[in-house]
């Protein structure tokens, strides 16, 4: 029995043409000094100017209709764009999350007005979204969210706090999972709704959280009597939990779950050219075999998305395998680099490797921990 569904995609010359265009653009921008290559770029390297350039070239909003500013392409084209920008370590963090999960949510659950108002701005690379799930008391146990939206005349009044909100300081909106009515006894999945909150509203306070490397990319977001009008409700009142399951599948589905550190390997390959010893070659062979295999699985997920299937279990499984691989990659590169005396490492190599080490702990946390991923897989196996 083949338990999981990772459909193989036949090669398509049009996709490879798109890939070449991307490569050309990314090379030009790099050579013009418009960005520095970094691991985990989709999370920690954001530049609105770069996002706008990508928007102008039609590389954001690929999967949705031109009626909403999109480009009528499929999840496969979007995959090529994400894969190439990850490889380049380009500053794609500003638009990444809106393009990945909030736009598809708006398409699935939004009103016509919401779609017409927001989606073209996302596609232009001008409108950014923050994830509004975690709270101080709700991490892996997401259903424990306490932030409330209380029904008032003409809208909702929000009080509470979200945390670990990546990029909230530069985002225009947050889609927050909020309690709009009490839990039904032990069933906490009822009474949750998603509301799109304009982060410039009075009563919203965004405070940076400094990470261990000194970067300030994530935040605490406080809501104090924040009033949002009725038309900010996203989808069904009380349907938040079900919508969030779909959102998380999107969040976990992409190549950023295994390719975030590829830039470290590629930098090392240039450094080690002609100097690799036998041990390093064996490490390289094993790493590339894993990367190629994960690519097949991740590409299969893109194909499921193209077919309109929510890849909940497949995404969880690939995220678990992929997070382990991308952290292992950094460690394997450290081992391979013993073939070169450290005084001969380029400053670029040192910088990228150190960033990779510093940014490795959250890989197995964000978007759902390894333990949560294994729980999802175990449920699919019929064990829980």
């Amino acid at each position: 029995m083949q338990r999981f569904n990772f459909p193989v995609v036949e090669p398509d010359p049009a996709l490879e043409e798109l890939r070449s265009e991307l490569q050309g653009f990314l090379k030009e921008e790099l050579e013009a000094g418009n960005y520095r290559r970094e691991p985990e770029c989709w999370m920690s390297s954001a530049d609105p100017e770069f996002s706008k350039k990508m928007g102008q070239r039609g590389w954001i909003g690929l999967t949705w209709s031109s009626q909403y500013g999109g480009h009528d392409k499929t999840a496969l084209e979007r995959y090529i764009v994400t894969e190439e920008t990850l490889r380049a370590g380009a500053p794609v963090g500003a638009h990444w999350i809106a393009d990945r999960q909030h736009a598809p949510m708006l398409l699935a659950h939004g009103t016509e007005e919401q779609k017409l108002n927001i989606l073209p701005r996302i596609a232009a690379g001008e409108c950014y979204f923050a994830i509004g799930l975690s709270e101080p008391g709700a991490g892996s146990d997401l259903a424990n969210v306490k932030t409330k939206a209380e029904k008032v005349d003409g809208g909702w009044k929000i009080n509470g706090q979200k945390i670990w909100s990546s990029g909230a300081h530069m985002c225009h909106y947050m889609v927050a999972l909020l309690r709009t009515s009490p839990a039904d006894g032990r069933n906490r999945h009822v009474g949750l709704s998603q509301i799109m909150v304009d982060l410039s509203l009075p009563g919203v306070t965004i405070k940076p959280i400094i990470d261990l490397s000194g970067d300030a990319h994530f935040n605490e977001v406080y809501f104090e009597d924040v009033f949002v009008p009725d038309d900010c409700l996203l989808g069904d009142e009380g349907g938040g939990w079900k919508q969030v399951t779909g959102e998380l599948a999107m969040e976990r589905s992409g190549p950023e779950r295994f390719l975030s550190s590829y830039v470290t390997l590629e930098t090392a390959l240039w450094q080690l050219s002609g100097k690799m010893g036998s041990d390093s070659k064996a490490r390289l062979g094993k790493l590339i075999a894993s990367l190629r295999t994960l690519k097949g699985m991740s590409w299969g997920i893109a194909n499921l998305l193209r077919q309109g299937v929510s890849p909940e279990t497949e995404a969880a499984l690939v995220k678990d395998l992929g997070n382990r691989l991308e952290n292992d990659l950094t460690q394997q590169v450290r081992a391979m680099l013993i073939d070169l005396p450290s005084e001969e490492w380029s400053s670029e190599m040192r910088r990228i490797l150190n960033i990779g080490v510093l940014r490795s702990p959250p890989n197995t946390l964000r978007g759902g921990t390894t333990e949560v991923m294994r729980g999802i897989t175990a449920r699919q196996l019929g064990l829980r």
């Binding site: 390959l269 590339i288 175990a378």
Partner: protein, 342 residues
């Protein structure tokens, strides 16, 4: 996913389901060879699936036959089906008629002897003699067969070629890499199928076995072990699928598929411990008995990961190749499976 549709795969699946229930591999280990199963495979022409129509075979698509091989491994079938398919393919590539009966194969580099999988049950041995670019057939029935201490229940014998005269031989254009690509891909399919079959067994066992008043499956420690093993099995299936697709795509030139086949070998070989350890762990002592089915899969996995050299050897071979490849081309390989610049 490995394609299990099409006439060849479906016929094979039916034969393995009907004639290779779980008692068959047990009986084979007790010395009772499943002749009826073998006869059915032969009578339906399945051992000639990769033999061209000119040589009396099916000339079936590579793709469809991988589905049949998947079915044979899921049933832990103790007959040299995959070996005969490969041997007959080698013969066909040299313009020789298929083997009369069952067959196994060997690749000679520089040594006069070789380890033969299923050596006790193969009528013929097909040798690729690299030095002379020749495919040669030897009669294995008359050879002194000394079973080696084998990991696999299918057994392994040594064959010393220097004492034997080939029944037939012919020159071939086949490269060693082309043959390696096919063999490694076949083994990859068998290994992925075995992992998934052993996963099914493990899930069944932990769902029934109770300790501390509840099924083992309800313990998170057990759930996470099997979730990890399931992920590795799914990765193995993907690696095998990509190798099989590459062979199917490059039909006339299987050497083009070498990288994808080696990748499958390396990926799957390295994941064997990651699956067999949890499979045995969750089964407790029961999984270590001959009476239970698990070892039909795990022992074959241990044997197949060593076939043609183990995963460490192939990681190094692949790495040597990649170290001499431009980083741009490596990226192209990772993303598209095209490893050789066109």
């Amino acid at each position: 996913m490995i394609n299990t549709e099409g006439m060849v795969a479906e016929t094979a699946t039916k034969i393995f389901t009907d004639l290779c229930p779980r008692e068959i591999p047990h009986a084979a280990e007790a010395g009772e060879y499943p002749q009826a199963l073998w006869d059915a495979l032969q009578e339906n022409g399945l051992t000639l699936a990769w033999t061209s129509e000119d040589n009396g075979g099916f000339g079936a698509d590579y793709d469809e036959v991988f589905g049949a091989i998947w079915a044979s491994a899921q049933a832990a079938s103790p007959v040299p089906f995959a070996e005969t398919l490969i041997a007959n393919w080698m013969l066909d590539q040299a313009g020789l008629a298929p083997a009369d009966g069952s067959a196994s194969f060997a690749l000679s580099g520089h040594t006069p002897s070789a380890d033969i999988p299923f050596g006790m049950h193969a009528d013929k041995i097909v040798l690729f003699d690299e030095a002379h670019q020749e495919i040669a057939v030897f009669d294995n029935r008359e050879a002194a067969r000394s079973p080696e201490e084998a990991l696999s229940p299918d057994g392994m014998t040594q064959f010393i070629f220097s004492g034997h005269v080939a029944e037939q031989s012919a020159k071939t254009n086949l490269s060693r890499r082309a043959i390696e690509a096919l063999i490694l891909t076949v083994r990859a399919v068998q290994m992925a199928a075995s992992m998934e079959a052993a996963l099914d067994l493990s899930i069944g066992y932990v769902s029934e076995r109770e300790q501390f008043g509840r099924p083992l499956s309800k313990f998170q420690a057990i759930q996470h072990q099997l979730a990890t093993a399931a992920s590795e099995s799914a990765a193995a299936t993907m690696a095998a699928t990509q190798a099989a697709s590459a062979i199917a795509k490059h039909k006339v030139d299987p050497e083009q598929a070498w990288h994808e086949a080696v990748i499958a070998k390396v990926q799957i070989g390295h994941s064997v411990e990651a699956v067999t350890v949890p499979f045995h762990q969750v089964h407790g002592a029961m999984g270590y008995t001959q009476e239970y089915d698990l070892h039909h899969f795990t022992r074959r996995l241990w044997a197949w990961r060593d076939a043609l050299g183990n995963e460490h050897r192939w990681s190094k071979l692949l790495g040597e190749e990649l170290a001499a490849t431009a980083p741009d081309q490596i990226w192209k390989g990772v993303t598209t499976g095209e490893w050789i610049a066109s």
